[in-house]
Structures are given as C-alpha cells and as structure tokens.
Amino acid sequence: MSTGNSTAEPLPPVRDLSALRADFPILNQAVNGHPLVYLDNAATSQKPVAVIEAMDRYYRCDNANVHRGIHELSNRATATMENSRARAARFLNAARSSEVVFTRGTTESINLVAATWGADNLRPGDQILLTEMEHHSNLVPWQLVARRTGAELVFLPVTGDEGLLDLARLDALLTPRVRLFALTHVSNTLGTVNPVAELCERARKVGAVSLVDAAQSAGHLPLDVQAIGCDFLACSGHKLCGPTGIGLLYGRQEQLEAMPPWQGGGEMISSVDFHESRWNVVPHKFEAGTPNIAGSVGLHAAFDYLDAIGRQRIFQHDQELAGYAYERLTTLSGTRVFGPRTGRSGVVSFLLDDVHAHDLVTAADQFGVALRGGHHCNQPLMRKLGVPSTARASFYFYNTRAEVDRLIEVLREIRRFFGG
C-alpha cells in the first residue's frame, strides 16, 4: 500500500508545522468575533502565500497563450505549463509527463474517463464496480454512462458506522463481468483510507480497469500511481493548497492513447478539415481550448510547498489530529462518530444528540469554527447509515490540537444551547 503508514522513515527537518500557519494569511482573521478555526479542509484547503504569489507573478510577468505561440511570452507560458505537467507527474510518480492531463478538478477527470473510456468499452451487461462510499463525482458520471451503454452499477458495501469496505464481499462482486472498478482512496465523509494498491491489483486480475478518486488523498499522503497500479487517478488542485479550477487526470499511456477524444477544439487536434479531423497525441488530445495556465502555475507551487513539508509528515499530523478529535468526540456524551477508529485520514464525521447537522454548523460558525454539515455529496451513503446528514471536521497540516480542544468546547456550548 502506498498510503504511508506509521512506521515511516525519519522526516526531513522542516519548520515546525504550526509555524506554517504564517504562510496562510486567511487563517489570521476573526469570524463572528472569534479567531477563525478552519476545519473544512475536505471541502477545500487554504492557500499559502507562495501559491498566491506564483500566480500573481505569472500574470505580472509572463502571461500569454500556450502552444502554437512563437514569441517570447508565449514560449515562457508554454514552458511554464509543461513544467507544471512534469512536476505533477513527479508528484504522482507517473512514468511520463504525457500521462498527466490537466482538467478542472476531480469531477471533470472522472467525467472524462466515463465519457471516453466508458463509451468505448462498455456494453450491455457489463458491470462497473463502485463502493458505497463514493462521492457523487465518482457515482453520477457512471450512472450517466451506464444509462447510455446498458452497463450496470454494482456496489461494494460499507460495513456501517465504522465505515470500512466490506472486503469479504469483494470476491463475489469483482467478477469478470466487471469492466471497471472505480473507488475512492480516502472517504470524504468517513475518513477511511482504502487499500487501493491491493484493490487495483484485484481488479487487474479479473481484467478490469481501475480508477482511483484521490481528491481526499493527493495532498494528504504520499501517492505513487505506479505503486498503486491504477489505470486512472483523479485529483483536484484546490484541495491540496492549489488554486480552484485546476486538477489532474493521470492515465496510463496505453489507456489514454486508446481512448477517443472528449471535447473538440483548439490544441487537441493535429489537423482539421471541414468534415474531418485528426487528433493530437496524448495528453493534448484531451485538452481542448485554452487551459487554466495560471492555475497550472499555482498547482506547481502547491506541489513544491507540500513536498517541502513532506507528505508523510502531513499524513501523520492529519492522523494525529483526527485520532485526537475522534477520541474526544466519542467521550463527549451524546455523540455518534463515524469512520474507523484507527488508520483514518484527517476527516471526522459526527452527530450530536438530536441536533441537526446544519443547526450545529450554523451554531459553530457563531463561535468562529468552520465545519461542514450535510450529505457531503454522499447521499446514498447517508441513507445506508440511516442519517440525513452529518457534521464534519476535516484537518490539514496547519490545524492544531488547540483547535480540536476549541471544537470540543464549542460543541459543549452548542449542546447546552439546544438543550441537549
């Protein structure tokens, strides 16, 4: 498994994690009269100055459209973008830069695969295996392509509140009828870290293609697409200190080459006639139109920033905080906490007595604590767990134990307020 584990190599000497808060101007503000405690990192992370300034600099010095351009600024913009791609390939440990497609984010990456690989490979009666903990972004695209192709969705169950995949059911479900196994690396609701390398290997054994939704893992733990052995992997820049509007699709070279294009337009063609066109090589075949160039600059800076800290170190910190929060939440009376007790990522979902999650989150906000409440784009999982919604705290390297303490204190106040 490439998710890192607690018997890790010694970490490189870096600044104290809490010192990194100074890199995030947004954290230094009062919300509703209280210091902001930002615990909504699974929705989106905050951005360090290094990322903000890299984009700023790009627009002030180097901005031009990429490819096809010959003048100096265009050369710089093209080099900038292709360097970001190479950096992304290193970040994911992809074998080649050409295996990295820039997209808007995880959602678009998955839609791209569903629309191209799916349309080309799925026949009536074929199965797509998902898990019950998938985000809508790794569910709805498959519903759409299933309807178009006559393929069928099957689901690997989740065990219950502790939120593990029911691997005992895998053999029965992962049959040769399964053409694709798409699953999340880290659950955005339960915090579960799935054994993706093992599961992708199981998929390969029945001849199924595998897709990993790495939205919640890419910025949080060491990631290695070759060690995972997936055919596709999707992630979003905005969840890993990068800007909004950019993300990645990793695809194995042979897969990408065999796929038809998706969107048509500039850059994705090699030649165009009135009635017919030929496609460019990968990854350009999948990048129609002007890409988010400044976004790729910010993403590059984010990769550098995270790797200077060390993803293993980030993972450990996330785990420590989440473990501490889990423990304190379970000892707080009247709570129901979801997800595995150990080995989890920095996401903790919970409920407090019969206070509705949205009432809880509104109240926490009055104390400056930013949580998320709702179905977290996991409606079917919510139904499975028998709850309409949960409250969720999600951590990143700039969060502290003191913030967890504050969360618990505020939850006590809230319970008191709602007369729990």
């Binding site: 309409p388 919604s389 709602f418």
Partner: protein
C-alpha cells in the same frame, strides 16, 4: 455570537422544532406535496384537506433542521382557513422577511420569529422549504419541488 444565535433560534422556534404541531400524516388528504432542499437532502411533505377553495386541515411530515421543522409547524398553524391567494400573499411576506430582514407590512403573528434568518443566508432555504411544499400542493403540482 450567542446573541445572534439566540436571535435566529428564538425560544418559539426551539419549542416548535422540538414539539412540532400538526406533525402527522392526513389520510386521506385532498392535496399533498413533497419539498426537498438539495443543499442538505432534507424533505418535508405537507397534507391538506380542503373546504372548497379554503384549507380546512393541514399537517406535515419529514425530516429537517430546527428551522425547517419550526417553520413547517408554525406554518400549519397559520394557514388554516386560508385560500391559495392568501397563502401566496403570506409566502411573499415571509420570503421577503427571511431574505431581506425587512419587517413585514402587516402583522404576521408568530411567523415574525423567522426575521432573524436573513442574517444566515445558507439557512433561508430551510425556512422557505415548507412553503414551497404547501404552494405546490395547492397548485396541484405532481413532482417533488425543490427550494431552488
């Protein structure tokens, strides 16, 4: 903070959310409709018995937050004997109040407790959800309505 919170969750609201009135199914009902809030997935179903053009009896069921439950509960109390036109008029006033905070032109009775909602934009839909459902029921819409 606590003040704002207390302003949003006034005692009346907390009370109605914990002990909602008319919180049951009417069977048979002349009209019924379900409203869903896509932001949270909550939904509320209203049941109506009519006396000609007027609402004779009114109830609701479903799951939701304190705001939506209290809103539904107080709404069922406020709409007995009203016509569609009257309900529409009230809806407009409630909508105005919870989006802008403007105090309503006419006396709204208990409905006025929702004035605090306008300072919580993400919660406006909660207050409005049961109203969408009741309008849909009165207007005879068949599909579930959403608050968007």
């Amino acid at each position: 903070m606590f003040d704002d919170l207390a302003d949003l969750y006034q005692q009346v609201i907390l009370d109605h959310s914990k002990s909602p009135r008319n919180f049951h199914r009417l069977d048979p009902a002349d009209r019924t409709a379900e409203g869903t809030n896509p932001l949270c997935g909550d939904n509320i179903t209203v049941f109506l018995r009519m006396d000609g053009a007027r609402i004779k009896e009114l109830s609701f069921q479903g799951s939701g937050c304190a705001i939506s439950k209290a809103s539904a509960s107080i709404m069922t109390e406020s709409l007995q004997g009203r016509t569609l036109t009257e309900v529409k008029g009230l809806f407009d006033q409630v909508h105005d109040m919870v989006t802008t905070g403007k105090s309503p032109a006419s006396d709204m009775g208990k409905l006025a407790v929702f004035a605090g909602v306008h300072r919580f934009p993400a919660r406006v839909k909660c207050a409005i959800l049961p109203w969408h459902a009741v309008l849909a029921a009165l207007e005879g819409q068949v599909n579930p309505v959403t608050t968007e």
